[in-house]
Symmetry: none
Subunit: 178 residues, 4 copies
DNA sequence: TATGAATGAGATTTCATTCAT
DNA sequence: TATGAATGAAATCTCATTCAT
């Protein structure tokens, strides 16, 4: 579980390399981790910004954004899961924060645009965490690309409905939840 | 991060005790962990079943169930976070599985009752993970009880809307996501 | 196995005492051990000398000596086994040496008296070890006093026969062993 | 004293290695012990069975068997002493039981063949323990090969005489022991 | 007289890292 | 470029002993 629990000895044993060899290519254990995920991390950041931009200018639907994101995550499955779930103890430990920020920004945008005014930051934080969790769990499931995209679409529908209900209900909150 | 990375040495250092002292009270590191969380774990299981029952017989609204759950979690915040996020390596490692099962069961029930027929297990799995994540993040935020309950209600509204959108959309799926 | 492997904690647990209490009665772990065996050790030394004396003046048969010895060992079974097999690490560690010396002396006497001249010290050493081992194993068996004495007598017969064969054979050694 | 009391720390200190280094070659302390003695243990078992067979078919005298055994033990002195006296706590702890069984079997054979009928198992047990003890003490003495073989022969003579006296005496037991 | 709690040293084991070759 | 061996620190756990009460 996680970078810190993964013993280099065991990693190397599985990879059929000697531990000594690792230190020829990488300065230390963290460097090894980082070189594995860095490209993916960079590209994900770029993609995130790009999608944020698209959404901002309403050039693409949310569903299309989700699909493009998932396609990327799927292709880099292993690295993504390392990056987002096993990076504690490395300099990528807080990488996911950047993603969360992007998602929160997007959500904030939605609330401003389609909701009735400002959105509560804490609510947005929770929703962002949930959404991200959704992506990650989709990734962890052993799905085919088709399955994955279909499920992604459904999660999108779910999120969309949730958002609408939330903004609609904020005016007459008490009515809605009963 | 987690039970396994939490060095007993460091724990004891912070607590101002020697590591040897711990072994007077607990057989080993895991026992220490378990004695901290066991009561809470048991009560949570009971509460989970109770709420499941209530929902099943429609004796209480989902919102009320959520509120009762959050109140419990809030009162046992520390133990709950240990139990659900730091238990890898202990015999509670798979405890959360039970909770997930309960949530999935409840979701399944909803889909059967209000949706149009059977629900896809994989979709339910993802939604359950997201919902749980929501609860946990609510817990991790440093909120007052009032704030917490208000946010919980909002998440409930979100989830409710998501569910409706999802079941409504299953008939004319392609329309919805565009 | 032995004094050093027996944890005081476990000893006390079995005895239903607290470890603290032990240190009220005994200076330390070794003292506890020694007070358990000391009386027995002293009496055994005395008995050993007495039997040696008796044999020396031919006031008693070897079989009677053996019987008296075994009766004593049997009554102090537990202490004897502690003293002779678990004393490593205590000041009784070399206690058994004294017994071996006595047995060797007795064997030496036999060889001088009934054999044809001086006896080889190394041979006597081995025979003494074997004889002692015999006594200890007799003790460890879960026998009744009667069984024990009968077996002791048989071992005596064995040893007697061995001795005779050995002394008889020393003149024409090569004949005997074929 | 024994495997369990032999601290790896001290072993390594004497060997001029760090304890960590040991774990490069051996999985744990027990593995270290086992790899030292395993070959010897296997060969001893084979030899034991072989000698048992020879005795059974009377292809070799007891004295020759003893000599062959001692030669083997002498060549593997260190490993044998580890195996038979220091193995408590390892998976070889009960190894010597196999040897005892072989010796008892051989003794049983003798009693059936040369004695007058069945032999008492408990007596045989004691005699086997004594005989084994003899072998071990022979080994522990710092003898030359010649000395060792000569002493072994003498112990053989002793045992032989003991056996004869015992079987002869079983008919008129009460006479003998006085 | 006895207990419960605590200590500190030392045991086995693991691990990232280094180094000679 | 790569290996096998080694190191030293730190982890969990055990144990004899001490001490306040």
């Amino acid at each position: 579980m996680g970078f810190e629990k993964a013993s280099l000895r065991r990693i190397c044993q599985k990879a059929g390399v000697t531990t000594g060899a690792v230190y020829f290519f990488f300065r230390n254990k963290e460097e090894l981790f980082c070189q594995i995920v860095s490209d993916t991390a960079n590209e994900l950041s770029v993609l995130g910004n790009e999608l944020l931009e698209l959404e901002f200018h309403e050039l693409e639907t949310g569903a299309d954004c989700d699909a493009r994101l998932m396609e990327f995550l799927y292709r880099r499955k292993d690295e993504i899961l390392l990056l987002l779930e096993k990076s504690a103890g490395t300099r990528y430990a807080s990488y996911s924060e950047e993603l969360y920020r992007q998602i929160r920004e997007m959500f904030s945008l939605f609330f401003q645009r389609f909701g009735d005014g400002a959105a509560e930051p804490e609510l947005i934080r929770i929703l962002a965490e949930m959404r991200m969790k959704g992506f990650l769990e989709l990734l962890k499931g052993d799905y085919s690309m088709e399955q994955l995209l279909r499920l992604t679409r459904q999660i999108g529908v779910y999120a969309d409905g949730g958002f609408r209900h939330l903004t609609a209900g904020q005016a007459h909150n008490t009515d809605m939840e009963n």
